[in-house]
Symmetry: C2
Subunit: 295 residues, 2 copies
């Protein structure tokens, strides 16, 4: 491809690996780096390069993609492990992990001060979207930076939005997205637990509210799992402990009180504190049951 770039891709997890693989398939030269050797082998098997070190991955690369767990890891890779210094001047750093907006803005300033170009571009859509190349990508970056990396981002996601010209604004939109997901999920738990306590048939209740103005994506997806004793884990309670925490951090940074997000966060924290952080996030309903003495 004429716009093929050399891309250093750090973080080959359940989402990062398929995202990097899609870049390989689109004709880019992709150097995948991860702490786990097996993940690097997996990308190499798809046609990616297997760099000898993080610095080797970054040398000469036009784009560094960070699909790590959180802001601390992003900082560790860029500053602590030297990725930023190893990149060519003018290279683009695409931070695609979910991070608090103020920490993204701070990192962006450090990257700019080092003469590289920062693009804040977190994603939503999960593993399914990562594999299919149908992620939603929410970018906060100056327009020239956004336009420079857009062809690379469009390989990974088919819904690319330029949310604002400041780094941190993509992160803010992602945080707001998670705020809504988390509040809707906790609300579904509050509703289902109330139905149980009021003695109504909860399957009928779920059918009714799923088909009315009371419906949400989360209610329809997680509600049926709230009726199960041991739901399969598709996303863990602790993910919303983290993501609603980021939403509240986004509010704090913007100077904004968020009463619903704060209340919902407490229910996920309580469920995690009860020892169920690794269980399916639909288990937030169990926090409501314990709280109200529902057997």
């Amino acid at each position: 491809m004429s716009d093929a770039k050399t891309i250093a891709f750090v973080g080959l997890g359940s989402m990062g690996l398929p995202m990097a693989t899609n870049l390989v398939k689109a004709g880019h030269r992709v150097r995948g780096f991860d702490m786990r050797e097996a993940a690097m082998d997996a990308l190499a098997a798809e046609g990616g390069e297997r760099p000898a070190s993080l610095a080797a991955a970054c040398e000469g690369a036009g784009v560094l993609v960070l699909m790590v767990v959180n802001a601390a890891q992003a900082r560790g890779v860029l500053i602590g492990a030297g990725a930023l210094a190893a990149l060519p001047e003018g290279a683009h750093v695409c931070l695609m992990a979910t991070c608090p907006p103020d920490e993204v803005a701070t990192l962006a300033a450090e990257v700019a001060a080092a003469g590289r170009v920062f693009v804040d571009c977190p994603v939503s859509g999960g593993v399914v979207g990562a594999k299919a190349g149908t992620l939603t990508i929410m970018a906060g970056a100056a327009t020239p930076a956004f336009e420079a990396v857009a062809p690379v981002l469009r390989v990974m996601g088919d819904k690319l939005y330029h949310c604002g010209t400041e780094p941190g604004q993509g992160a803010a939109v992602k945080a707001i997205n998670q705020l809504l997901c988390g509040v809707h999920l906790a609300a579904a738990g509050e509703a289902m637990a109330l139905g149980q306590k009021a003695g109504v048939d909860t399957a009928t209740l779920l059918e009714i509210v799923s088909g009315s103005a009371a419906s949400s994506w989360m209610l329809k997806d997680r509600g049926p799992r709230m009726l199960m004793d041991e739901p399969p884990v598709t996303s863990a309670v602790d993910i919303f402990v983290k993501d609603l925490g980021i939403a509240l951090a986004a509010g704090r940074a913007a100077g904004m009180g968020l009463p619903l997000a704060a209340a919902a966060h407490q229910m996920f924290l309580a469920e995690s504190g009860a020892g169920n952080g690794a269980l399916d996030d639909s288990k937030v309903v169990a926090a409501y049951r314990r709280l109200n003495g529902i057997g």
Copy 2:
């Protein structure tokens, strides 16, 4: 029609009038009663009967439908104004207004003690559903009572659910439906206000969250009106002051703490308290703006 019944219908408001009209069109003998003469004239023009008094409407009727504003009005009609005594023994009383479950249960006991049969059957679907006969009807009643009135209810709604065998359980499901609607609407306001405070483009934000797992029926319906300075009034702030109040009353009666519903209720109360109770309920976003000093 072979199952045509004589029906006394009290409360010919924006929903009651089209509901009663649908009963007339289905071949029932409908005696419409309302405090407003014009409403009674309107039903008579559709082929309904125009009783001389509430008592005259009830004499010999097999079913009394109550589509009044709240539980206090239902009690006033049944007990205060003598409708219960005027009904034949064994007649069915269908309470279709949105009321607190415990007050419904109390009324039901009084109706049963008087030798009439109570059916708790509130609706959702609004004026549009009332006109089209496509309401959702949530019934709490003993099975024989439910089955006796089901043919009449199916004229008004095409989604009829038997939520439980106790009066009050239909009201509980309706309360839970409104809990979800109210929390989702307040959450949309919280999200949009945070977006504004964080400086992101709110139209882009709304497009993103409306198309992701963050979506809800309320977000998609009310979100666009949150972007308007003066949204048209489709449902007022004070309706959610009332309905989330009923959800909290349902929780209190069941012995259930509802942190999200309580937090959402406060935002609607605040917006009403700021003098905007009659404005469109999407104005709950303005309470978040005032709270956080967003100009």
